[in-house]
Amino acid sequence: MDSIFTGLMDALVLILTLDKDLVEIVFLSLRVTVTAVAIAAMIGLPLGAWLVVNRFRFRRITISVLNALMGLPPVVVGLFVYLMLSRSGPFGVFGLLFTPTAMIIAQVIIVMPLIASISHQTIRDLWAEYHDLLISLNASRAQRIKVLLWDGRRALITAVLAGFGRAIGEVGAIMIVGGNIDHSTRVLTTSIALETSKGNFAFAMGLGLILIGLAIAVNLTIHTISKTERASTW
């Protein structure tokens, strides 16, 4: 228990003194995760909506696979991306391994099914409401997707935040493809893993508390912004 207390104190000191290394690590964490979530959302949200309005033969299987991919272990994704980006791999020539870009790629793969899946489930309910109207008004498929995504945006924000939560706490994949290189690809989660393995429990705990604080801050910000946008709650 006093490990946690000591850790909290250590963390507070780091924050209050705006420790240079900490700031660097936090910024990199945010940069990697926010970018990954943004890209995953740009793919996943429309994909979820598209699966709702589009009827094709393998739709049910596609949706099932998408849901299943949510349970994909991040380490497996990391290994896969490593094999793709390795110099001995198909995309090695781009030299992306051990860079933040590789970490972003891995996190996009991890987060996209989650966002698409939640998007699909929420949009499906909205589609049930809008179905007759949109058909009556001759909305094209693209238009239907646009309307569903826009009118359903509040629930979709939840999907994106869920993706953010998954990504910011992820460590297995980015450890493999990023290499946890000091001042280069070291982020909060990999730092925590490193400190834990060195036996520096208190410090690792402190970093963990900072991570949680960061996640709370992001969620609070998003919820505050989205509420002032709305005229009312529904």
Partner: protein, 243 residues
């Protein structure tokens, strides 16, 4: 959508031998019906008779198992000149003004112009005071008005309504009927389902009586109410239960 400049009417609409089913349950048919160019056609019958199905088939919301639904022009053109008001109004999750303007947005009309037109229509249906309100939040009785404005805003040639006043009080019903009458005078063809005999008497030019999924009578309104041909129609007009 490219605004259709051709003056050619999409009517008459001809249904031949139309049969509609859903999941092994027979809903409608076979029916033959012609919807001409003018006036108000009221589709009457008790609940479950098939009125809604008939309307949906005409509008293209219901797939048919047999027969044909033919407009005077190509179906893709005809689709863009119809509108439909549902029995339970579908309120979009946006402000009333955006809800009414929605069909215009779909057709690429610029936002400012669309909002202006929506405002005009809102005034016409008596909704000016709730333009900025979140559509799902307005009271039940008022909900059909934005739906109606939304249906009329791109000036359809034919308007289908499925028992729009079923859940409304007297005042709202009167307001809706006023709007419909004005629309008819402006040239809109109306096909409306109702089981309210008084409303039918007020509005109908001709009546289509549906019972058990079949059309039993198609007559001019005054003829229908005074001298219905079939015993089911007579029973219906007298307020008896017709199955």
């Amino acid at each position: 959508m490219v605004t259709d400049q051709s003056p050619k009417s999409i009517l008459p609409l001809v249904l031949s031998g139309v049969v509609a089913r859903a999941r092994k349950k027979h809903l409608l048919g076979p029916v033959d019906l012609t919807i001409g160019k003018r006036g108000v056609t009221i589709v009457m019958g008790s609940n479950g008779a098939g009125k809604t199905t008939l309307l949906r088939v005409m509008h293209g919301l219901q797939r048919i198992k047999a027969g044909s639904v033919d407009w005077a022009v190509d179906e893709s053109v005809a689709r863009r000149k119809q509108a439909y008001v549902f029995q339970s109004p579908i309120m979009m999750r946006r402000r009333v003004i955006d809800s009414i303007a929605f069909p215009l947005f779909l057709n690429g009309v610029a936002k400012r112009s669309a909002h202006k037109q929506a405002e005009d229509w809102a005034i016409r249906v008596g909704l000016a005071h709730v333009l900025q309100v979140w559509a799902p939040m307005i009271s039940g009785g008022e909900k059909q008005k934005p739906a109606l404005a939304r249906a009329l805003i791109y000036q359809p040639e034919i308007l289908f309504l499925d028992e729009p006043c079923a859940n409304l009080n007297g005042r709202s019903t009167r307001e809706i009927e006023d709007i419909l009458t004005k629309a008819v005078m402006a040239g809109t063809r109306i096909v409306m389902a109702t089981h309210n005999i008084g409303q039918a008497r007020r509005l109908a030019n001709d009546v289509v009586f549906v019972c058990g999924g079949k059309i039993l009578e198609t007559t001019a309104a005054d003829v229908f109410f005074d001298q219905p041909k079939t015993p089911e129609a007579l029973a219906f007009i007298n307020g008896e239960i017709v199955e």
